[in-house]
């Protein structure tokens, strides 16, 4: 009790969330009358990140850095434009499709929104789209980043839940593709209602030339998947191979990547990884303390009185996670909820931990797109100058359709498990 009160107080006064977790852990030990736990405290912090699966995080982030520095992202957008026809709402589809492509390389929603908003929003504005809508749509496109593999959130989840990183990444594919299709349907509907502008006409020859010219970007996902299927590497190691592929494509094909940029890219990747990884370490300490205080066990007993079957449990989880997601961002949210909810899900309701992970991640990512702390909207706003609140309102249909996906997933776990062995 005093632990949660302390945690809330630290958070509201503006202490970084990782430190809130660490400090609340110290408060718990001090209040527990078991000071011998102080001796275990540093080792628990260490143990939280002493895990093979987490190696993937710096490597995925490095790929993103190299792709950006190498001008590869821009070419993927060009490719999506060549694929989409010149029909109503063309650029809106391009936005979602390019986001889906890039999601297959980038692991993070906010990074993706920052990159894509710079490219897509001016383009869409030029064609006559409302800036707020364009920025909001890009934010939803970025939501695919953590769902379609690779995904830093899935890596963190798989470490928390002790399931295979590879399984988690695969489990996100079908829901990610369904979400893309659903977003396209919403665009079709909204394009009809609001009369969206048509995309530029390109001759079939132009389209083919663009696709040919931009196709080397596909080398990066091909190399990543190829090294895994070919038995050269696991999901983690493939990220390092992918980074090399991105560097080579950037150096020899787009010619925008220079090896002299590499030290700064390495530095940035290290620092952004540390932001995530320190949260994981802090969460390890915090959940250790919670477990010592038997909080998950008590929460489990409480939830069991409310939910009689797996479906009602999943629906309750959706509501809880969406509410948490509105105030807390993706990875911290993951770290705070998974240690409590997952044991209940697997032990009491016999829900597959991988399916549960997909639902939790989508919920929390949706939180990045809801007020008051919708980080993706803030990022899109910062890049484009649109208003976050208004952005949420004009893109409400996308929020609704994402909630529909969550209900579907709660009813049909096979959607996430179909590709997993």
């Amino acid at each position: 009790m005093i632990t949660s009160a302390a945690f809330m107080a630290f958070m509201l006064v503006g202490v970084p969330i990782g430190l809130c977790l660490c400090l609340a852990g110290l408060v718990y030990i001090a209040a527990s009358g078991n000071p011998v736990l102080f001796q275990s405290y540093p080792l628990q912090l260490f143990g939280g990140v002493d895990s093979y699966g987490l190696i993937a995080i710096p490597l995925f982030i490095l790929i993103g850095e190299i792709m950006n520095g190498g001008g590869i992202t821009r070419r993927i957008v060009d490719m999506a434009m060549a694929f989409v026809g010149s029909f109503k709402g063309g650029l809106a589809y391009v936005n979602i499709l390019a986001n889906m492509f890039i999601s297959s390389i980038l692991g993070s929603a906010t990074a993706q929104v920052a990159i894509m908003a710079q490219i897509m929003v001016p383009e869409m504005e030029k064609k006559g789209y409302d800036k707020t809508f364009a920025a909001g749509l890009t934010a939803y496109g970025g939501m695919l980043g953590p769902i379609i593999p690779p995904s830093v959130m899935f890596v963190v989840y798989s470490v928390l839940a002790q399931v295979s990183v590879g399984d988690m990444l695969i489990a996100g594919i079908v829901p990610g593709v369904i979400l893309t299709v659903m977003f396209c349907l919403v665009i079709a509907l909204m394009g009809y209602v609001y009369n969206y502008p048509r995309a530029d006409y390109q001759t079939p020859r132009q389209r083919i030339m663009t696709i040919l010219r931009t196709s080397p970007t596909l080398l990066i996902p091909i190399v990543i998947v190829g090294t895994i299927l070919g038995g050269l590497a696991n999901a983690t190691e493939s990220a390092a191979v992918g980074a090399v592929a991105a560097a080579l494509v950037g150096k020899f094909w787009t010619k925008e990547f220079e090896f002299s940029q590499l030290p700064q890219m390495m530095l940035r990747s290290a620092i952004y990884s540390a932001i995530v990884l320190f949260l994981v370490a802090a969460a390890a300490v915090f959940s250790w303390v919670l477990i010592f205080g038997k909080v998950p066990q008590e929460t489990a007993a409480w939830i069991q009185t409310a939910a009689k079957d797996p479906v009602s449990f999943m629906l309750i989880c959706n509501v809880i996670l969406l509410v948490i997601g509105t105030v807390i961002d993706g990875i911290p949210g993951l770290i705070m909820t998974v240690p409590i909810l997952l044991p209940v899900a697997t032990d009491v309701y016999h829900i597959d931990p991988r399916h549960f992970g997909v639902v939790v991640v989508i919920n929390l990512v949706l939180g990045l797109l809801s007020p008051p702390v919708g980080l993706c909207f803030f990022v899109a706003a910062a890049v484009t100058g649109a208003k976050p609140g208004k952005m949420f309102m004009v893109t409400l249909p996308f929020f609704v359709i994402a909630c529909v996906l969550l209900v579907l997933l709660s009813l049909y776990p096979s959607l996430s498990l179909i590709l997993v062995k």
Partner: protein
């Protein structure tokens, strides 16, 4: 006076060690009319085994089921129990870990690790699952083999000519499926749960090594308990582990039957192939753990 013990282990819910832990709690509670109780923290909720050891040493954690690999990496004397071909079947393992010679290994624990060993629990004999055909020990030469990274196993499989490859447990199935490794070694219970037969061409029953677990108590906590309670706890844990050992050994024929029904062959290592391997292994390990000689003698009688 009343006390609630915290018992930590790394295996997930449903594992036979977890059932034993829960049963131990129930039995202890019944025997003391609720005065002594046990909360079980499974799946490494309190940390991995090194972290649990640290908590046992400081007295934050009362009890733990700790694998011989973890204890053996600290104390070569304990690692001797992981040596190959001390015994050659799971029923023999079941007898061996209850033999006074195996229990006597715990004598070094207080001084070397700050914990008290009360008894052994077991998993079955480990087998090699391979994606290329294997008939004899000699065929293991040149294989990239995923092993449990304990020094004893490393020396054993290296002496067979394999290239030991550490792969984190959750990724073993994938590593086999996509060919990062040519084979893996594991106990049959775990292998059946993971369905390693689906990514293998052959199973070779090595009948060489097994991975027992020690039920340990924090030395600090132990010192604080009255003698009568120590005796009761020891008695209760031993009887619980007896049940675990007998059940695990009793279940093995059914498990082997499962694998025989799988479409891949399950083969045995010929006993006469093993003498040179034992000699080579003992050359490294007898100086580190002289107790090995005695364990071999005892094992041979079972």
């Amino acid at each position: 006076q009343a006390k609630e013990f915290r018992l930590g282990l790394i295996t997930p819910n449903g594992h036979s060690w977890n059932k034993a832990a829960l049963k131990f709690g129930d039995d202890l509670k019944a025997a003391t009319s609720g005065r002594l109780t046990v909360s079980v923290f499974h799946s490494g909720q309190l940390g991995n085994e090194p972290a649990m050891m640290q908590q046992l040493q400081s007295g934050a954690l009362d009890m733990g089921f700790i694998q011989a690999a973890e204890l053996g990496s600290r104390v070569p004397h304990i690692a001797a129990i992981n040596a190959p071909y001390i015994v050659r079947s799971t029923p023999a393992v079941a007898k061996f870990v209850r033999h006074p010679a195996a229990v006597k290994l715990f004598e070094v624990l207080p001084q070397e690790t700050g914990t008290i060993g009360l008894g052994w629990g077991i998993t079955g004999m480990r087998a090699v699952f391979s994606s290329k055909d294997l008939n004899t020990l000699a065929d293991i030469r040149g294989m990239k083999l995923r092993i449990n990274p304990t020094p004893v196993y490393r020396d054993f499989y290296s002496s067979l000519g394999a290239a030991p490859t550490p792969i984190p447990t959750p990724q073993v199935f994938d590593a086999m499926a996509n060919g990062q490794v040519d084979g893996l070694e594991a106990d049959l219970e775990f292998s059946w749960n993971q369905r390693f037969d689906k990514v293998s061409k052959v199973i070779l029953q090595m009948n060489a090594v097994f991975m027992p677990m020690a039920a340990v108590v924090s030395g600090r906590v132990w010192q604080s308990l009255p003698a009568a309670d120590r005796e009761l706890i020891t008695k209760t844990i031993r009887s619980t582990l007896d049940v675990q050992i007998d059940e695990l050994a009793g279940n093995e024929p059914a498990l082997i039957e499962n694998f025989k029904n799988a479409p891949i062959p399950i083969r045995q290592v010929d006993a006469k192939d093993t003498e040179a391997v034992i000699a080579e292994f003992d050359k490294i390990w007898l100086p580190k753990a002289p107790v090995l000689a005695e364990l071999r003698k005892v094992g041979a009688t079972l």
